[in-house]
């Protein structure tokens, strides 16, 4: 799964849906693969409109990458190329192939196996 996907995942339990601790899920024991691809500044600018910035920074830091600024940057065509590059790297090139995502509210652990997050709860857990 892509690092960006973590910005769209939360605990599947209804009880956690309103808890601020359920998002983002805390990533641990992660194996990372970098899939290099060509940078598309338009895509990055558009995707920034969809991203929850503090959660993205947190996830990125949990993966040992401290390159993102704490404040959400305003992107323009004149923005620092290094910023574009690190966003591109974080948002599109970083794949989490194995790992765990833990809900900070209920403690449920969601495994990532062969790059696919398993977000299933049993019927009773939902």
């Amino acid at each position: 799964m892509k690092l960006l996907t973590a910005n769209f995942l939360t605990c599947a339990s209804k009880k956690c849906s309103s808890s601020p601790d359920a998002f983002p899920l805390n990533i641990s024991d992660a194996k990372i693969a970098i899939q290099e691809c060509e940078m598309n500044p338009e895509f990055i600018k558009n995707v920034m409109l969809r991203v929850e910035w503090p959660a993205l920074v947190k996830t990125t830091q949990q993966l040992g990458n401290n390159t993102l600024p704490m404040e959400k940057p305003e992107l323009t065509d004149e923005s620092d190329e290094l910023l574009f590059k690190s966003l591109h790297n974080v948002l599109l090139e970083t794949e989490i192939t194995e790992g765990k995502m833990t809900c900070g509210s209920c403690g449920h652990v969601y495994p990532i196996v062969e790059g696919i997050p398993n977000m299933l709860l049993s019927e009773t857990e939902v």
């Binding site: 691809c37 338009e42 895509f43 558009n46 696919i116 977000m119 299933l120």
Partner: protein, 225 residues
């Protein structure tokens, strides 16, 4: 030249025998999506739409939509399936059919029910669902992702579809569109009538007889936003 049908050769491997293979219902859905390809490309070319296929199974529809229907359109594409095996099959299908021009765009596969655990409230621009629509006993609907999850639909074949229809208002973006596969026994005209009461305009965009059943592809928008 039509959009090519994605390569799903790996489904013949023994490990994927329990994944639903592309069949008449799949192809009817592909044809309905292809019919709308130009309209969707035009609508979303600069908008980075969020696209979700629920129950992606083999991944055939997701690969077709991501790399064919939405060719040259940047999108955030999520495919989900209750079966981990289907997720793996989808993952391989996506990788196999990736076109070089789409290297920058984004897709991922999530093992979940419907879109549980995904934070996409009222933000899905294109939603696609080929549900388990075969009428069965309710208890035949598996709680886990076995092959029966691909077809067992409970009463009228509508028990799984109804759950999704109940949450459509929470999922679809204001201008979103939803494509749904049904068969005659699901009473597609009834579905359209019921959804109209819930604020959705539905139409039956493709009807096809296949084997013993009549397939209908339904398409829904919000009536007002």
């Amino acid at each position: 030249m039509g959009i090519p049908t994605p390569n799903t050769d790996h489904l013949s491997e023994k490990q994927f025998w329990d994944v639903y293979e592309p069949a008449e219902d799949t192809f009817a859905l592909l044809d309905a999506l292809e019919e709308d390809a130009e309209e969707l490309r035009e609508k979303y070319k600069n908008a980075l739409p969020i696209v979700v296929e629920i129950g992606s199974g083999s991944g055939c529809v997701s690969a077709f939509t991501k790399y064919g229907v939405l060719e040259n359109v940047n999108s955030l594409y999520f495919s989900t399936d209750i079966s981990m095996l289907a997720c793996r099959a989808s993952s391989i299908t996506m990788a196999k059919n990736k076109t070089p021009s789409c290297s920058e765009s984004f897709s991922d596969i999530i093992n979940t029910r419907f879109i549980q655990a995904l934070r996409l409230r009222k933000s899905v621009d294109i939603l696609i669902f080929n549900p388990p629509y075969v009428p069965t006993e309710t208890q035949e609907i598996p709680l886990e992702g076995t092959i029966a999850a691909a077809w067992a639909g409970g009463f009228d074949g509508m028990e799984v579809t109804s759950k999704l229809l109940d949450s459509l208002d929470d999922i679809l973006s204001p201008t979103g569109v939803f494509y749904l596969v049904t068969v005659a026994r699901n009473k597609p005209n009834e579905i359209i009538k019921q959804m109209e009461c819930r604020g959705f305009k539905g139409s039956n965009v493709l009807v096809r007889r296949a084997g013993g059943e009549t397939l209908s592809i339904l398409k829904f928008y919000r009536l007002r936003y």
